[in-house]
Symmetry: C2
Subunit: 357 residues, 2 copies
């Protein structure tokens, strides 16, 4: 493997000084880029694209060709694991992900087992290896998975939802069945992330997209507890370097201290979180990643730059901040907004550090 030329992300995740705030964007390889849309059209569908290592590599690198980002993130879907469990992931036209065989009875739940990633998820590991080769050490590659709870939401409901009635019914009526699913998911996510690390992922992120739909009492029991279990069993070092983990819970702003105590190296913040408060509360313990409102990118470049400076000011120049959005980038984002954002973050965070030094 080539030596890493830009280790700003890994240094910031270890809360070491960097000359600027590293930046990458959740879903940075995506539909707002015309070149992505072109590759996806060649692949035929989103899933065909995700399952083809050569094309997944191509789209993973596309945003790096346009913008001086500090990391690549594996192009894949968060639902590859339940797909490998046999639930039959598909995408209906113009809709979100769906499963052909959601978990609807005890027999299906009892039969669930963690897939061997080297078999059913080999296309992901092949993509990780091919992306690492193509990156040739430019920037680190982030691997990822949905959290055990977020996977369970889709596995039980069969699709995204406003209120996840089937999931909630199971949680309140038969919590032991939900725990059984979450145990299998925790094992599957651990194996999956460790396989990504083995294949070359230099950092990993757990997306707990739906953890915020839980009550305060249920969040630790059904979501954070299982992410904690995954994190405890992750490979911590590879090729003599720490492989940091980032835990992102959308809507988790009230639980920052508990999330920061999960064993992760960094906490992802959505845009509702007061970054200055987060720094005070947990900034001595973990790095923080975030947290620009993705909606700010719908504004013209000057407004984007202003909002980027506001976010950087809220975090401050102390080590341990990775700039990102508070959620995945929207497909309707103008490309010039992203260019302005990345430029402003590099320039302004550099000037913050010069002023502070």
């Amino acid at each position: 493997m080539s030596a890493l030329q830009n280790d700003t992300l890994l240094r910031a995740l270890a809360r070491q000084p960097t000359d600027h705030a590293p930046i990458w964007l959740m879903r940075q390889a995506g539909r707002y880029l015309p070149e992505y849309t072109a590759t996806r059209a060649r692949a035929g569908s989103f899933l065909a694209l995700a399952k083809n290592p050569a094309l997944a590599t191509e789209v993973t690198l596309q945003p790096l060709e346009r913008f001086p980002l500090d990391a690549a993130i594996l192009f894949s879907d968060i639902l590859t694991v339940p797909d490998a469990m046999g639930l039959g992931l598909y995408f209906a036209e113009g809709e979100g992900p769906r499963f052909e065989r959601p978990l609807r009875d005890e027999a299906a739940i009892a039969a669930l087992s963690a897939p061997d990633p080297s078999a059913k998820l080999r296309y992901v590991l092949d993509a990780v290896r091919e992306i690492r080769k193509a990156l040739a050490g430019r920037v680190p590659l982030i691997g990822f998975s949905g959290s055990p709870y977020t996977l369970a939401c889709y596995m039980i409901e069969g699709s995204g939802s406003d209120d996840f009635p089937a999931l909630k019914k199971l949680l309140y009526a038969r919590p032991e069945l939900l725990h059984r699913i979450l145990e299998v998911n925790a094992r599957a996510v651990t194996d999956y992330l460790n396989a990504q690390i083995e294949a070359g992922a230099q950092a990993v992120m757990i997306f707990d997209t739906w953890g915020g739909n839980l009550s305060h009492a249920a969040y630790d029991e059904f979501s954070l507890g299982y992410s904690r279990r995954v994190i405890a069993r992750l490979t911590k070092e590879r090729d003599g370097r720490r492989v940091p983990s980032i835990l992102f819970t959308k809507g988790g702003g009230q639980w920052l201290e508990a999330i920061a105590a999960s064993g992760c190296d960094a906490v992802g913040l959505d845009w509702s979180v007061d970054a200055a408060r987060a720094r005070r509360l947990v900034g001595a313990r973990v790095a923080l990643q975030g947290n620009l409102d993705p909606g700010a990118l719908f504004a013209p470049p000057e407004a984007v730059r202003k909002e980027a400076r506001r976010v950087l000011d809220a975090f401050g120049a102390a080590p341990g901040h990775v700039f990102n959005l508070g959620h995945g980038i929207s497909q309707h984002t103008p490309v010039e907004s992203v260019a302005a954002l990345v430029d402003e973050v590099l320039t302004y965070s550099r000037s913050q550090r010069t002023r502070t030094a």
Copy 2:
């Protein structure tokens, strides 16, 4: 007007002792009740039902016939105000609310003005009067409105949305135009709620359903600031009795202290909020309303009762708790879940008070 026979709600909102935790449910007059569905079918549509004072009175009282609830809430829609502004509210089959003429340019924004509630919203005030008469003092009647910000979300976007791109674009690109809309909305909401109070509403609630989609920095500027302005100008007393105001921000758990300092008498909590923490933080200042996960009602009665006790234990028996859901009741809720919930809240909260006394 008849004397109020059950003032448990008003006493709890004033943080005075009560023999049980009063309970009512957001959207308690709604589609989970077969008798509601029948009345709505007679009306022809949701809007026809909301605009017919006699039928609105009928459905407002329906849940009180089934369950010993401690309050009635006006049956209406949160978007009546922008409809009265001329935006043309309608409901497409199976979808949420939409506007025929959303605010899409500066001219439309400049032309916006607060409607006279005694003219364009008279059907609402007639319903308030008719409901008060029909209630004959059984329980107090709660009036309500969407918050200035939540109304603006729909007025700009034209419908509900996952990420409100048009709203966010305006907020970041042309904040002065959004402020102009919010100023008009604040005036309109103030006039509307005061007219409801004048017509007989004995408490009022402001629903800030979308405040939680704002960044920490933007929340006070675009949402809370305008709700504060409304609350400051509300009629505070009527017939010698305090008319309390309740402010509910879905996703506002991180901003509890600021919300509690808005001038409201009570803060509505969604189910992600730790009720015990909320009591510690702001319970000496305001009453608290909430916060059962509406998803808990999908479970069988015994599980519903258990979860109700958990919520009551988290709030504790000290004065100032109004039991409610953390969000509107789902149309898929079994009626027997609601019966079990109301019974358990009355019984268990009474026993809490006996134990404490």
